[in-house]
Symmetry: C2
Subunit: 220 residues, 2 copies
């Protein structure tokens, strides 16, 4: 069992946030950084930052802090920005289009190498220089090209079958934009986006904040 230490999902979900802040600091030409400085920028405790980073290694130096460029590279390596993940987008609707046009992904190690749809009007066109192919070509394409991740932006009623199809082809990573939770084999990694869940949490918090404000006003 390799490293022994199990890293919690809470820590993992914070990594991309560190990555973003470090990227911004680099752009601001800031060379060094203490955990306290970073904690103030991010609104978390310095203790948490040091704990998180020390899950992966001692990237700092006592009395000095962290070298921004070095830490940025280390966090990138942990996240796999050097892996060159090859992705295909299934569903060339608005969401598929939006994702195909996101320039951010490439810089983070994700390359879009194909888009698939069933609409004959879309097939053959290019979105951000990526060819849109018919779903009938999917199997051949995956056999001829290494694909790490399938990004699923198909209508919800097709999601289960699409997920089964891509996993049958050996694709092990799925980024799921449908509201359905995908329960797949233990060897497949799924990340669900669930936009309406996010919006509903916003709605809840807004409602509660209003209630709070009402009470405060009432107390005067």
């Amino acid at each position: 069992m390799s490293e022994g230490k199990k890293i919690s999902v809470a820590v993992i979900r914070r990594l991309p946030r560190y990555f973003r802040y470090l990227s911004d600091l680099l752009k601001l030409d800031i060379k060094r950084l203490s955990s306290r400085e970073l904690s103030q920028r991010m609104g978390i405790t310095a203790s948490q930052i040091r704990q998180d980073l020390n899950c992966f290694g001692g990237f700092g130096q006592q009395g000095y802090g962290y070298n921004v460029e070095n830490l940025f590279e280390e966090v990138g390596k942990i996240l796999g920005t050097d892996q060159g993940f090859k992705c295909i987008i299934i569903g060339a609707g608005n969401m598929g289009n939006a994702l195909a046009n996101y320039e951010n992904f490439k810089r983070r190690g994700f390359e879009m190498i194909g888009i698939f749809d069933v609409d004959p009007k879309k097939v053959g066109t290019y979105i951000n220089n990526i060819k849109v192919r018919h779903m009938d070509e999917l199997d051949d394409f995956v056999k001829e090209n290494h694909v790490d991740i399938a990004i699923l932006t198909v209508p919800n009623k097709y999601i289960i079958n699409t997920a089964k199809r891509v996993t049958a082809l050996g694709i092990k990573g799925i980024w799921n934009f449908s509201p359905t939770d995908l329960m797949l084999g233990d060897d497949v990694v799924v990340e669900n986006v669930h936009l309406s869940d996010s919006l509903m949490v916003l709605g809840y918090n807004l409602k509660e904040k209003r209630k709070q404000m009402e009470e405060k006003k009432g107390a005067d």
Copy 2:
């Protein structure tokens, strides 16, 4: 301090998931449900479900379980599906388009009442029957129409100013699709989507899963 009991974000983030599963169960015409049955479907413990629900009230009945329709309505009420939140989308790019076309939102209590952009080619057109207006019209629009939530899908370099502008107009809810974390006043509720964070977590998990598989293979 009204209710006293503070509800944790972990619980709140699970609510939309309960809502989704209950909605599916309703469609399957299932009338009653025990916490154990739901726990098996959702892959969480029955204990957690009962704890979560009891933060808001006793919706079940000993010896019987929960009435699906009733529980669905209660969870909906907690989340505010009856609030009719009025939303505007700022940025009519691919992401703005995708969100304007999501039919799911209305059913969950969120209505899109306007879209704003600066591109003269887009201004005046309609997306899913919602008029696209110029950003110059934003202030007047917000003064004449009640707006609960601004959905920000503008390019990252404009995000801070756009957020300042909408909060200055009194909008208290922000759904932020830019990679920048918005740190706004205490009276504003922000929900960040950060798509690339989600993708990076997928990349990390995929990389680790592969490492795991390698080791297992090596052990044979």
